[in-house]
Amino acid sequence: MELSGAEILVQSLKDEGVEYIFGYPGGAVLHIYDALFKQEDVKHILVRHEQGATHAADGYARSTGKPGVVLVTSGPGATNAVTGIATAYMDSIPMVVITGQVPLPVIGSDAFQECDTIGITRPCVKHNFLVKDVHKLAETIKKAFYIATTGRPGPVVVDVPKDVTDPNIKIPYEYPSSVSIRSYNPNVKGHRWQIKKAVDLLLSAKRPMIYSGGGVILGNASEQLREITRMLGFPITNTLMGLGAYPATDRQFLGMLGMHGTYEANMAMHECDVLFAVGARFDDRVTGRLAQFCPHAKIVHIDIDPASISKTVRVDIPIVGEVAQVLDDMIEMLRNSDKRPDEAALSAWWERIARWQSLDCLRYDRSSPLIKPQYVIEQLYEVTKGDAFVTSDVGQHQMWTAQFYKFDKPRRWINSGGLGTMGFGLPAAIGVKLAHPDADVACVTGEASIQMCIQELATALQYRTPIKIVNLNNGYMGMVRQWQEFTYESRYSHSYLETIPDFVKLAEAYGHIGMRIENPADVRPALEEAFRLKDRTVFLNFMTDPTENVYPMIEAGKAHHEMRLAPGMTVERELA
């Protein structure tokens, strides 16, 4: 088969099994767009801003586990994509981003729409390639998918100069069935001796704690995590990125940990004697003050990336490996071991935990005449029977969703944790809905965040991706306002948006349905109605209490046991 570079690119995507490509055309990629036009297997989703393309591909990837694919033009197309690439990079999301580039002979001459895409993206990709020869194109695409999806996943950029896609130069095409890269061997199998030591340590624990993260979702190891947690009978917490990896409604689950985690999860971290970290990277939002992190604990850490191990917190038993495999090995060792967890110690530990739980740290005022944001999320949970895919933007609404929507399954909670990218939620929801057309998809957002990629409402109409936008409209950049209240004596410097658009009209202008909800009593009926409208995108503009804060909170420089609780909530001596 003789194909041009542009055709090779498209055919490679087909051979890679790509369903959707999220993109936006421009001069440098016109040959590729022409090749896309002539086929129907790879469906192109035209976004309204390249940032939207990357987030939509990212949502697709997070909800399916398959790589997201993006196509943008050179120069401004590529720079607009950078935020989304960095977002995927920070959360280790597999993505392949094809960027057009000016023709090879003019690279470096400040040509029209030229930018150094390789240089600009280098710090926020797992790897990137500049394709200098059409003969290397298919192989490079293969490598890009291989690198993006193996080991610790991440985005890979393939920069393709326009002349490499010249429709008049045809060469024989064959898509490689496999690749090997001598300098890249994603380590998979954990060291057996280390695993054995870890199992022994876990079995000797008196006050154990499991701290699991996004790696369990990325590595499709939720079943193993559930199994081992059940076998051990230990309490478990998830990071923001790990929510859903362990069922939130299970009694061993203590909720999220970290800055806005639960009191019980953070206290258990502080008091534990053995910490079992699984696919989590000891982020600063999670650890609090490092010097006081888990001061009594010996730590086991499973991670596929050696660089995640002992990066900020030194661990006692590191295990480098694919989490599913390591947990399988551990489960097998536990089955064959004649030792059992220390039941007496565990039940004393669970009693202490129950006392922390009795504080009911997420409690909020249910008698307020204003809509409480927490209440909206609780109702969203009930109306969707806990089974929706929920994307979010960044801010207070994100934290309330993490606290109040009890995710029982992996890949249902789609949010930007590492980079914290406002604007992520809406395009991500479009990507999720394309991948799961029959599922309920909600985007929880704030009036500030939603305006960062609002133009994607048009994309949602064009591709009939009916999603429900749950806007917790508090009239503030709530998360910023909260910090200003706590640490800047309520000087609300530029955290108030004075000209918030009429979201109902805005939704209607984009061809969707808008609803404005002002009374707590209308929250549930509005949600029910919105989800009944199966084939429509509905923008639910909830006017929420503008002064509500996210509690509890570990403030900057504080440790796990020094949480700031909601006003009026106190810890009795015997709890602590």
């Binding site: 390789i118 280098r122 710090p123 790897h127 500049l130 001598r182 990336d305 660089a307 030194r314």
Partner: protein
């Protein structure tokens, strides 16, 4: 602590900037960095001298290993090794100073490789500390220019860094 990290990497145009970018992005120190082709045309060898606590050096080697273009690396300062740096110094050399400079150069087993009526260029090789010492002995005001290659190194014995 000072560490010398030897890296074999793909001889690709972007490889050097990936390493340099990693160091600046993560705030690691670079004392010196040298890179040149090897006997295998597909590989280049880089020698990187850096300083940091054990934890930082551990992160540096892990992060370098993560770069797709890095094929193999070794911290040669952890084993018995030889390190060398090449230095060329241009000095003002007139009158009695000419004799004195030749004497010093001999002591340091250097060579004078360029001569004019008023100047010498001296070549010295050795460990960094030896080159530093040589510069110390020269009259500061006589030095016109100093050019150093940065450190390279190799393990002692029959062990080598190969793919």
């Amino acid at each position: 602590m000072r560490h010398i990290i030897s890296i074999l990497m793909e001889n690709e145009s972007g490889a050097l900037s990936r390493v340099a970018g990693l160091f600046s992005a993560r705030g690691y120190n670079i004392e010196s960095l040298t890179v040149a082709p090897t006997e295998d045309a597909s590989l280049s060898r880089m020698t990187l001298v850096t300083t940091g606590s054990d934890e930082i050096i551990e992160q540096i080697t892990k992060q370098l290993n993560k770069l797709i273009d890095v094929v193999k690396l070794i911290d040669i300062s952890e084993s018995s090794h030889i390190e060398r740096e090449l230095m060329m110094v241009k000095v003002r050399a007139v009158d009695q100073a000419r004799e004195e400079i030749i004497r010093l150069t001999d002591i340091f087993r250097g060579k004078i490789i360029d001569v004019t009526p008023v100047s010498y260029v001296i070549e010295v090789t050795g460990e960094k500390s030896k080159l530093d010492a040589f510069l110390q002995t020269l009259d500061r005001d006589a030095i016109i220019e100093v050019v150093r290659s940065g450190t390279t190194g190799i393990l002692r014995g029959d062990r080598g860094l190969h793919v």
